[in-house]
């Protein structure tokens, strides 16, 4: 601005710098710069000691196309998809019931969804492993009931990983759905039935369209992070159900090929961008992803 007046300086420029400056600096240094660096690194080589050498190459991207990796991408997408689907199927009716509870208990029901999250997630996943293990409660129960003669191996299967993922992410589905359903005006449902719609019709014509925002943001908040949650498949899948996250983790923590790990991360970034674009196209509000 050419003729920036003193008034403007005092009432806009200085306050803007003071308030937005810190967050802008933070975002530039700890979000944008790191991601740019990862992108650059994905195009770099390593020397024989696995140090990153900043020389251009596409070799990391060509490695991404190896059949082993492609199998894992497919597996990751499948696990994330099934997880999301189950979260919707369980989460929607569940959120609906608690959000439409009329009494004061509604707050309590809501808190009961959040409380488990104050216990460390690793230890809860480990709790599942204890529960499902060969000497765990479930096997003991099954044998006591005579259903099984000897312990059944329940761990280290795709299903176990999905169970852990559903467990980790179901609140991210329930909370946005709860918010959307709670906002739903009861008189709309009455109006729909007054106008002759049966309950199922009301569900598809009124309830689902009006709560779709919560549904979409729930799906985004389940599907995307699911791809990167390497420790769930580590603990419950025992290495049989690797996901993209496990591949990345290995490149940075044991195989020490950071450029390759960076290239693998680019896949996750691209998937995220595509899904977020779809989400926005469907009319999703970005802010509701974080509240």
């Amino acid at each position: 601005m050419k003729n920036m007046s003193k008034h403007d300086l005092k009432s806009n420029t200085i306050p803007a710098v003071v308030t937005v400056g810190p967050v802008a600096l933070l975002l530039l240094l700890l979000v944008l710069a790191p991601l740019i660096l990862v992108t650059v690194m994905s195009l770099c080589q390593t020397d024989e000691f696995y140090n990153v050498v900043y020389r251009f190459t596409l070799v990391n991207y060509s490695k991404l196309l190896s059949p082993d990796y492609i199998k894992i991408y497919g597996q990751s997408l499948l696990i994330a998809f099934i997880t999301t689907l189950i979260c919707v199927l369980i989460g929607y009716p569940f959120s609906y019931v608690i959000a439409r509870t009329k009494s004061k208990k509604r707050q309590l029901f809501y808190m009961l969804v959040i409380i488990p999250f104050w216990t460390n997630s690793l230890i809860r996943i480990y709790g599942w492993r204890t529960f499902l293990g060969s000497s765990g409660w479930l096997n003991k129960l099954l044998m006591a009931m005579g259903v099984a003669a000897e312990p059944i191996e329940l761990l280290y299967k795709t299903g176990t990983t999905v169970l852990g993922m559903v467990y980790c992410f179901i609140p991210f589905m329930v909370l946005p759905l709860y918010t959307a359903i709670e906002k739903l005006d009861a008189s709309l449902l009455e109006a729909s039935s007054d106008l002759g719609a049966r309950p199922v019709k009301t569900l598809f014509e009124v309830i689902l369209p009006l709560t779709s925002s919560g549904l979409f943001s729930g799906c985004i908040m389940v599907f995307i992070p699911c791809l990167g949650y390497f420790f769930v498949s580590n603990i419950l899948g025992g290495g049989n159900t690797d996901m993209i996250g496990n591949l990345i983790e290995r490149q940075f923590k044991s195989a020490n090929n950071w450029p390759l790990g960076a290239a693998l991360s680019i896949i996750l970034i691209v998937v995220t961008l595509i899904l977020v674009k779809i989400y926005q196209k469907l009319g999703g509000d970005m802010d509701s992803l974080g509240v």
């Binding site: 007046s5 003193k6 008034h7 403007d8 005092k10 009432s11």
Partner: protein, 369 residues
Amino acid sequence: MGTIIELTGVNKIYGTNHVVKDLNLTVEEGEFLTLLGSSGCGKTTTLRMIAGFEEPTTGSIKVEGESIEEKEPFERNVNTVFQTYALFPHKTIFDNIAYGLKMKKVPKAEIKERVLDMMDMVQLTGFENRYPSQLSGGQKQRVAIARALINRPRVLLLDEPLGALDLKLRKQMQLELKRLQKKLNITFIYVTHDQEEALTMSDRIAIMHDGVVDQLASPKDIYEHPATRFVATFIGETNTYDGCVTSMTDGVATVTLENGAVRVKCDDSFNILEYATVSVRPESMRFDTKPHEGFELVAVVKDFIYVGSVLKCIVSLPNGNELKIERLSGQELPEIGSRIYPYWDPMDGVLIHNDSYKIFKALDEIKLA
């Protein structure tokens, strides 16, 4: 009594939107001045520039002879009553009202005394510990006024302060505000779009239209001598006739219309063959069953509307324009569909220069040149 606020050549432009155009306005000390106009006319922007929330694009604003454009709102000795009340939701009524004094670091004991006095004055005693959300609209309004007045400002700015109240409460608050203003002898600058409110309360009214003050005068003057066609139609009900001044004798002009001619008083500022507008209030209109001297106006009675003590005749001219003529209830009425001849005492009408005509004339001159 002297000038307390002086706006000189004030313009406010937002992007391509010229909201206030070359505004000159002086406010006298102790007066109740109303800025009246429909939404978007620039009245609220003018008020906000005086308060310091907006900065004039060009021009100067002086309070007591001192330029204040560079001053922040908190450095100005004016206070505002907001349209939305803007009460602090997290503070009690007492703390809301005490806020300005607290900022001035007035001793606690004095704050308490003054706040309680002020609460008494606006009839809110006993509400000290309530929160704004626990008050009714009218009570919130009183808090907003008390909160501003306690600072003893030289000028109080009020931005449609009664807009959110229902009619009965609004009438009551109008009187109360006027009483407070007289009692405290503070200059009020009042923004409203409600002409009745403006006429009831103001010492002077500035009628704003498209960022320009069309007329600044007392309510009586504005009603009886509207300066522009806009003012005439905006304030109260009126009948207007656009025509051409064809003769002027002894301060009475004959104006020839599209379908007839009428007579109206005029002054020296008018010229023969000038296009002008005649404005006559419905209560000044008369009619007869035969043509009246000097008037060539024929109309057909369309409808009657009862408004309490008076009755309004709607009559239509041959060109389709409708006129309103007020009669006392109980007076004999013509039949609907019958032909009548409207007229008035030339002294009761007002002749107004027709701005739009000036523009045409200027264009003609440009073309001729």
